[in-house]
């Protein structure tokens, strides 16, 4: 029986449920020193001086270091594979601590102390003198001449501008009879809010540096720590234990370089650096706020004649993942609703906000909000049902993208839409809710998305792993792709069991804790790539391991290699299916053979030069209490075509998590800043309105399983896709319920109050009486 396509229990379920799992904090040595960071309390300016004396006098404070003490070695932080092409390398704009403060919360000094309290007291005792400069929070304002400049090398704060053109937009819009929908859409700065805050600890050993970190990308962190400290990369060892989520925040070098450097400043002693939740909100990474300007030219028959899309991405203070995010967002438009004439432009712009990096969806939740809001508005302008408008215009079966080489092999979009519409009873409810007129009105909306599975051809896609046949016939498995809570290890165990021919996924021991000295080099957890890319190298390494096993079995059994197979942990003769020996017998024989001893192991790297479209949609049903300016989400379903499911139960869980993030993105989450000071106002879990279970209806996850032809296991992206289409589906449902098109998220009561007032739906008549 196949080992994949089954809802197996997670390999780490028992340890996690019983509290036995070791996260980084469970591994910190008892005598580690505490590092606390002094964060800037201005949005832009220069540190003139740091008075350390009061901090140094506090009992327990070991050392105080500031931005004048760090090496002048600018380094990049993005968790991208290294590029051999210098033009494609990430921007190195970071120092370990900064004299030039670029956002409220920037790192200017550290206190290293014997205990946490002394470290806190030390930070509070530091006196930092600043020279304040004007700051800018808004993308458009940051691009203006005379705006405050964040980085010398980037005039008008523009990190990068790229564009793409198809057909002839300016001629196409002259076609007589076209309807023009010209609108702006705004998305907010949000934070990942993974359960485990980032933290790490570091010490020196044999003149090398060891860093244990809560990261998604151990091998990339090794390189960045080397760059930041000016040390050969081989001097650095990164250990990644179990981690409590990352959602892309930990796809960046966060505080590993600073922590490692602090160890070198105290004689190599072990130091720990733990981010508080407040620091996680402001001084880690956030999702880019992207503003879109979309001009759609429609024909009365419901086709799209031409489209112009401008995207302005708020990078915040440092480059991090930079332009990659908005480039991906922009790239989605021409393929999502292909039309003959398109003009797209994308700008990434520095502002004095926290640095934006990778976050689940990597530009697509933003693009999806804008694109799917605009498509809804287009359908409304045409008087067409938006479901029909989408069916008419969304990427067709057979669509091929020359750049990525992707092909839409099936009619996945329409299959997903049909399934979602059936679940939510779209047609009937759409008609019924159209009659709602009172204070409480119901509505139904939808949105679609597509997602690239991996990063080919923009960046390298490589996957390596090692399989070791144990003496009991089980296999120990190590790979560079990272378990971060999503269930990757379980998927690997199932794929390895399938590819090698083991009896159960339980016969695969996945080494979840990765160590860059030991684990085969890999790129980590991002891009929804893991199951897809690991599939290639798992198949390849399994073939190598099987070859070694069968070659040895040939010595023992005298049967031809070609006549044997490995099935359910046994070596069998193909002709009659008879069991020749178990894998355990073979491993024992091979290991302890006095004449020909062999430790059976295989290792390989696969360079993936394919990519795959992942598809899906969301249908949402809302009830809007107009006077109270409140939206209740009554019903929501996501439908995904992510190819064959390796583990359906885990796939469903993955979708539930993404839907939850999309609900918060649509209705409540937003990091806000004081316009007067640039200070983040709500960087904590009380004031930042992450949605809770009490804000969720039942989350329905459904799948269309069209096997992906390029994948050895028929699988493709599911990690990020569930977070993409929820927010615009909710937005469109609110539009359906109230007739009010809201072009920004989150659609919280403040926004609804303003929009409903503007639309005349609410009317405070006591105001006139005053």
């Amino acid at each position: 029986m196949s080992k994949v396509g089954r809802s197996e229990i997670r390999v780490d379920a028992f340890d996690k449920a019983s509290g036995r799992t070791k996260y980084y904090e469970d591994r910190v040595p008892a005598d580690a020193l505490y590092v606390r960071i002094k964060h800037a309390e201005i949005a832009h300016g220069f540190v003139k001086s740091v008075d350390k004396s009061a901090a140094e006098a506090i009992p327990g404070v070991v050392k105080v270091l500031d931005c004048f003490d760090v090496p002048d070695l600018p380094f990049p932080t993005a968790g991208h594979p290294w590029s051999m092409d210098p033009g494609h390398q990430d921007i190195a704009d970071r120092h370990l601590l900064n004299q030039h403060v670029r956002y409220w919360g920037d790192d200017v000094a550290v206190v290293i102390a014997e205990n946490e309290v002394a470290a806190h007291q030390g930070v509070r005792a530091l006196k930092v003198e600043y020279e304040s400069l004007p700051f800018v929070l808004d993308v458009q304002k940051a691009m203006e001449d005379g705006a405050p400049q964040l980085h010398e090398a980037f005039p008008n704060n523009i990190l990068k501008h790229t564009g793409m053109k198809k057909g002839d937009y300016s001629s196409a819009i002259k076609e007589p009879g076209l309807i023009c929908i010209d609108k702006w859409y705004d998305t907010p700065t949000v934070q990942h809010c993974h359960i485990e805050n980032h933290g790490c600890f570091a010490w020196q050993e044999d003149d090398r540096l060891v860093v244990v970190s809560s990261t998604q990308i151990p091998h990339i962190i090794r390189r960045v720590v080397g760059q930041a400290l000016g040390r050969p990369w081989g001097d650095i060892e990164i250990v990644k234990p179990y981690i409590g989520g990352g959602f892309g925040n930990k796809q960046d070098a966060l505080y590993e370089p600073l922590c490692a450097w602090c160890s070198t400043q105290v004689g190599g002693r072990c130091v720990r650096l733990d981010c508080s939740r407040e620091e996680t909100f402001v001084s880690n990474r956030v999702r880019h706020a992207i503003r879109f300007h979309i001009v759609s030219w429609l024909r009365k028959d419901g086709t799209i004649a031409a489209r112009k899309v401008e995207c302005f991405s708020n990078q915040g203070a440092y480059a991090s993942h930079g332009h990659s995010i908005v480039a991906k967002a922009m790239g989605s438009f021409p393929q999502h609703y292909p039309c003959e004439n398109m003009e797209c432009d994308a700008y990434t712009v520095f502002t004095n906000r926290p640095a934006a990096g990778a976050m689940r969806g990597y530009g697509m939740p933003q693009a999806s909000f804008a694109d799917e809001s605009n498509i809804e508005d287009c359908a409304k302008a045409l008087g067409m049902d938006s479901y029909e408008f989408r069916k008419k215009n969304v990427m067709p079966k057979g669509f091929h993208d020359a750049f990525s080489g992707n092909t839409n092999y099936y009619d996945s979009f329409r299959e997903c839409m049909t399934k979602g519409a059936a679940f939510i009873d779209y047609e009937r409810k759409k008609k019924e809710y159209a009659n709602d007129t009172g204070d409480i009105r119901r509505g139904i909306g939808m949105a679609t998305f597509w997602y690239n599975t991996a990063v080919y051809p923009i960046s390298l896609e490589t996957s390596s792993n090692r399989m070791l046949l144990n003496l009991d016939g089980t296999v120990t498995f190590q790979c560079g792709e990272t378990e971060i809570g999503q269930g990757a290890d379980t998927a690997y165990a199932q794929m390895v069991a399938e590819a090698v021919g083991l009896k159960s996924y339980r016969d695969v021991h996945v080494k979840s804790c990765q160590d860059t000295d030991i684990t085969p080099t890999g790129l980590g957890a991002y891009a929804s790539r893991q199951t897809y890319v690991a599939g290639f190298s798992i198949r390849q390494t399994a073939d190598l391991l099987r070859e070694k096993i069968l070659n040895y079995a040939n010595e023992v059994t005298r049967q031809a290699v070609a006549n044997m197979d490995i099935v359910d942990g046994n070596i069998i003769r193909k002709g009659d299916g008879s069991v020749l020996m178990s894998l355990s017998e073979l491993a024992m024989t091979a290991q302890y053979n006095p004449v020909h001893s062999e430790h059976i192991t295989a290792e390989s790297t696969y360079t993936i030069r394919n990519n795959a479209y992942s598809f899906g949609c969301t249908f949402a049903e809302v009830e809007v209490d107009i006077p109270m300016c409140k939206v209740t989400l009554k019903n929501i379903v996501n439908v995904h075509d992510c190819g064959n499911l390796i583990n359906p139960a885990l796939a469903e869980a993955q979708v539930h998590g993404g839907m939850s993030m999309a609900i918060g993105y649509g209705l409540s989450e937003q990091l806000i800043f004081d316009e007067k000071t640039g200070k983040p106002l709500n960087g904590n879990l009380l004031d930042y309105k992450l949605s809770t279970f009490m804000d969720h209806p039942h989350l329905e996850a459904e799948f269309v399983e069209n096997p992906e032809p390029t994948s050895p296991f028929g699988t493709k992206a599911l990690g990020e896709p569930p977070a993409c289409s929820g927010a615009p589906a909710i937005r469109n449902a609110i539009l359906d319920a109230t007739g009010v098109a809201i072009d920004r998220n989150p659609i919280n009561p403040h926004v609804l109050y303003a929009e409903f007032s503007k639309a005349g739906l609410i009317h405070d008549d006591w105001k006139e009486a005053k």
């Binding site: 205990n115 946490e116 309290v117 806190h120 007291q121 509070r124 006077p627 109270m628 300016c629 409540s668 806000i672 004081d674 106002l681 709500n682 879990l685 009380l686 004031d687 309105k689 992450l690 949605s691 809770t692 279970f693 009490m694 804000d695 919280n748 009561p749 403040h750 109050y753 609410i762 405070d764 008549d765 006591w766 009486a769 005053k770």
Partner: protein
């Protein structure tokens, strides 16, 4: 690890009073769901604490000899919600405190702490104001009782003398008898939330249920401290409950309340929802009292 200078634990009211006198700078701590958060933020870092959490005498709900409802100051929110006397005589209070934070907070948080913290957003505060609760404080010279509106001095400051602790909150019989109330908390999400505005309305109807004998309404977050709305109450008192009355009553709260503009919500928004919440809470209270909105 908390930055606290010292922790003194009292096991009786007398011990707590003695500790208060001995350590005048110390901060009283009950469940800790406010004090420890502030300490972690650095606001109360380095302080001495006097814990009264072990004083079991201050737990529980009872009726005193005058049949006033007596709530020990250390009674947790979850115990108040599930208490049969509360459910029978002042169910709205149980419903209100059931909207505090999360189940964990409701298990550790106490009504005494909720009021002594002195914040306008406390979920218990508007209902206690609407029921004209009496705060009982015990000090070295004995017991002092004062109306809750006098207990709140200004934002974050309540009337506790240096030798006192709060020992109970009383709801007089005359206040709860034949009275039915409804509380609406307005938050930006449905759990783990601090009130954007809290509105508590209670009514007592005439025997034939045709007339409103007494109507009281109080808000949290409509001003620096929780507040009643005398103008709105005057509109409803003695009137026949109708939809028009509900509208008029609700509009009148604007004359009484004074919410502020902050990044959490604008004044205009708070005023808007205050009116809608007054209307809904009033209507529901009349229904609970067995009345009908003509």
């Amino acid at each position: 690890m908390y930055d606290m200078k010292a922790l003194y634990e009292a096991s009786s009211v007398e011990e707590a009073i003695a500790l208060r006198i001995e350590h005048p700078e110390a901060q009283i701590i009950a469940g800790g769901s406010d004090v420890l958060v502030q300490m972690r933020e650095g606001k109360r870092a380095g302080k001495e604490l006097i814990s009264i959490y072990m004083i079991d005498d201050l737990r529980g709900v009872s009726l005193d000899e005058e049949e006033n409802l007596r709530i020990g100051s250390l009674t947790s929110f979850s115990h108040i919600t599930r208490d049969p006397l509360i459910q029978k005589y002042c169910n709205v209070l149980g419903e209100a405190v059931d909207q505090v934070g999360s189940p964990q907070i409701r298990n550790i948080g106490t009504i005494g702490g909720n009021t002594c913290n002195g914040v306008t957003s406390a979920d218990s505060a508007s209902t206690l104001h609407a029921y004209e609760a009496i705060v009982e404080l015990t000090g070295k010279n004995g017991v002092r009782r004062l109306p809750i509106k006098d207990f709140y001095i200004k934002a974050g400051l309540v009337d506790i003398k240096p030798d006192e602790i709060q020992t109970a909150i009383l709801i007089p019989k005359a206040s709860y008898e034949n009275t039915f109330g409804h509380y609406i908390k307005y938050g930006m999400r449905n759990a783990m939330e601090i009130a954007t505005l809290g509105c508590s309305v209670n009514v007592r109807l005439s025997a034939d249920k045709k007339k409103i004998e007494r109507c009281r309404i109080a808000y949290g977050v409509a001003g620096p401290v929780p507040m009643r709305c005398p103008s709105a109450e005057a509109v409803a008192n003695g009137a026949v409950p109708t939809k028009e009355l509900a509208e008029q009553f609700a509009r009148t709260v604007i004359d009484d309340i004074n919410p502020r503009d902050s990044w959490r919500a604008s004044k205009a928004f708070r005023q808007h929802i205050a009116v809608e919440m007054a209307k809904r809470a009033f209507t529901r209270a009349v229904e609970l009292a067995g009345g009908e909105m003509a």
